[in-house]
């Protein structure tokens, strides 16, 4: 049954954490506003491309348990990113390729089988009101649309004329990493750590902590010892910064990271390596290597 005519997605099952994400809002860090945006940016861009959207159109980003939505008009959708079972009204449909969802049908992206975060792109994109030029939810600052709740309605945009591009056969989606290898550029505060700590960082076996979130990838492993113990005055933080809090376990800053921070950053993981970090489930083996 279709409750009202219009162009909306109705949230049937929000999952553990599903947010609206686009390319984020870079360029406002000096106001205390972080970047936000899809953590697995290549997956979000690919999903958009497959439904004929611009690469920065707003999509849904799920966390581990997927989500289910019901459009109130027919829409072409793609579920990509983390691999999962996809159904339309209970009937299995393709993952990672465009599917037609009839008006009133339930599109269900199931729990992630591999990886952590699936992306649901819809022809026309999601169009909640932008904040500072972006529709992304920023879970640290609270900017942008709130995480999805059952019963929410999300406005859908008008698909580009011409519809999705003609299918060119299967496209390659990078899978979830069995082992996450993150390259490290040392600095800006590598000199706040002991020589032994820098060796440990680049040689020890870490694991992805279950306390990871959109703010940072937390790690479990040998703590890094500081050579300077005084307090670091707050300084600007970049995406991919490896901040070392007092417990000594490195945290890799992801898109919702704070714009300034007071713990030293031992090194920086380049942005292109962070998509894999976004798909690494808790417990995944993790190594840091010199960039």
């Amino acid at each position: 049954m279709i409750p009202v005519a219009g162009r909306h997605l109705h949230v049937v099952r929000p999952g553990a954490l599903t947010t609206v994400q686009d390319a984020g809002r870079p360029g406002h860090a000096h106001l205390g506003v972080g970047r936000a945006g899809a953590l697995d940016a290549p997956a979000a861009r690919l999903a958009n491309r497959l439904v004929g959207n611009p690469p920065d159109a707003a999509v849904l980003e799920t966390t581990l348990t997927g989500c289910a939505v019901r459009p109130d008009r027919p829409v072409v959708a793609v579920v990509g990113g983390a691999g999962c079972r996809v159904t339309v009204d209970g009937r299995p449909v393709a993952w990672g390729a465009p599917v037609r969802v009839p008006a009133g049908a339930v599109l269900d992206a199931g729990p992630a089988g591999t990886g952590l975060r699936s992306y649901l792109a819809f022809a026309g994109g999601l169009v909640p009101d932008p904040v500072l030029g972006s529709r992304s939810a920023d879970l640290l600052s609270g900017l942008g649309p709130a995480p999805l709740s059952a019963g929410d309605e999300l406005p859908l945009g008008e698909p580009a004329s011409g519809g999705p591009p003609p299918s060119a056969g299967p496209v390659p989606w990078p899978g979830a990493p069995a082992e996450l290898v993150l390259p490290v550029h040392p600095g800006p505060r590598d000199d706040w750590f002991t020589e032994a700590a820098l060796r440990t960082l680049l040689t020890a076996a870490y694991r992805v902590s279950p306390h990871s979130n959109r703010i940072g990838l937390r790690t479990e492993g040998p703590p890094l010892e500081r050579s300077r113990t005084e307090e670091l005055p707050s300084e600007g933080m970049v995406l991919g910064a490896i901040q070392v809090p007092p417990d000594g376990c490195p945290v890799v800053f992801l898109n919702d990271h704070p714009t300034t921070g007071g713990y030293p950053v031992v090194g920086v993981v380049p942005e292109r390596a962070l998509a894999a970090a976004a798909q690494a489930v808790p417990g995944t083996r993790l190594r840091f290597v010199g960039a």
């Binding site: 870079p26 360029g27 406002h28 860090a29 000096h30 106001l31 205390g32 506003v33 904040v131 500072l132 600052s141 900017l143 550029h185 040392p186 600095g187 800006p188 505060r189 005055p233 707050s234 300084e235 600007g236 933080m237 970049v238 991919g240 910064a241 704070p258 714009t259 300034t260 950053v265 920086v268 993981v269 380049p270 942005e271 960039a291």
Partner: protein
């Protein structure tokens, strides 16, 4: 990647690498960081700076992030250039300040007065006489760290932070004064409140933050019952709000 400062009186200056597209310039102290940030903005205004997505000042550093690097080595050249700059000392006076009305009736007023060695009624006079400047933002969208208080008026944070500080609370900690743009936990000493905190952060306005880094600020004491008669602070086209007794 580091270099010492030029002969322009900046003292110690180090340029540190923060990943492939960013540099952190570390200055001797906050005063020098503010001066260096002001110089960066002047040069960007004049088109003398390579394209940089974010210029983020902080306590004693300025982060340049998103450095467009069309040719190999461009970031290294910028680092060397930054290390050689001569930067004018900061002028605190000059420029029309944003005026922020404050009702000085915060719960930590007595404690701050004791730390300053003055009567509670003198806190407002001392605080509002100070020429402040937004050194940097952080903590939350639109939360500015304002400097200008002399060292003898610096106060420690509260030993036990509050779980909820209301929007508009005017607070002190260390060398800084800040105004909470929205309710949040906080450990600063609360000396007063803005009658109209909604103007601190408005995503529909350009810029969204009232207190942008580099902005001169003055706090204007008002009495609780008379806040409605105030003119709105000057910041673009923002609207006065009539919540006089917030």
């Amino acid at each position: 990647m580091s270099g010492s400062g030029g002969p322009g009186g900046l003292g110690e200056l180090r340029v540190l690498s923060a990943g492939p597209h960013a540099l952190v310039v570390e200055l001797a102290d906050g005063e020098h960081a503010e001066a260096f940030h002001a110089e960066l903005l002047r040069r960007r205004e004049r088109g003398e700076l390579p394209a940089v997505r974010d210029i983020v000042p902080a306590a004693r550093t300025v982060l340049l992030d998103g450095i467009a690097d069309p040719t190999p080595g461009a970031r290294g050249r910028l680092a060397r250039e930054l290390a050689s700059w001569r930067v004018e000392p900061l002028r605190r006076e000059g420029g029309e300040p944003v005026e922020v009305p404050v009702i000085y009736d915060g719960p930590d007023l007595d404690e701050v007065a004791a730390l300053w060695g003055v009567g509670a009624d003198e806190v407002a006079a001392l605080h509002s006489r100070t020429a402040f400047r937004v050194a940097f933002c952080g903590f939350a969208p639109g939360f500015g760290y304002l400097t200008g208080l002399p060292e003898r008026l610096h106060v420690p944070r509260r030993t036990i932070p509050r779980t909820r500080v209301p929007a508009g609370a005017v607070a002190l900690a260390g060398p800084y004064t800040g105004v909470y743009p929205r309710p949040s936990p906080g450990g600063w000493q609360l000396v007063g409140r803005m009658p109209d905190p909604g103007i601190l952060w408005d995503p529909g306005r350009e810029p969204a933050a009232l207190l942008v880094p580099g902005t001169p600020v003055r706090f204007v004491p008002v009495e609780a019952g008379k806040a409605a008669a105030l003119p709105a602070p000057r910041a673009g086209d923002l609207q006065a709000d009539s919540r006089a007794d917030a």
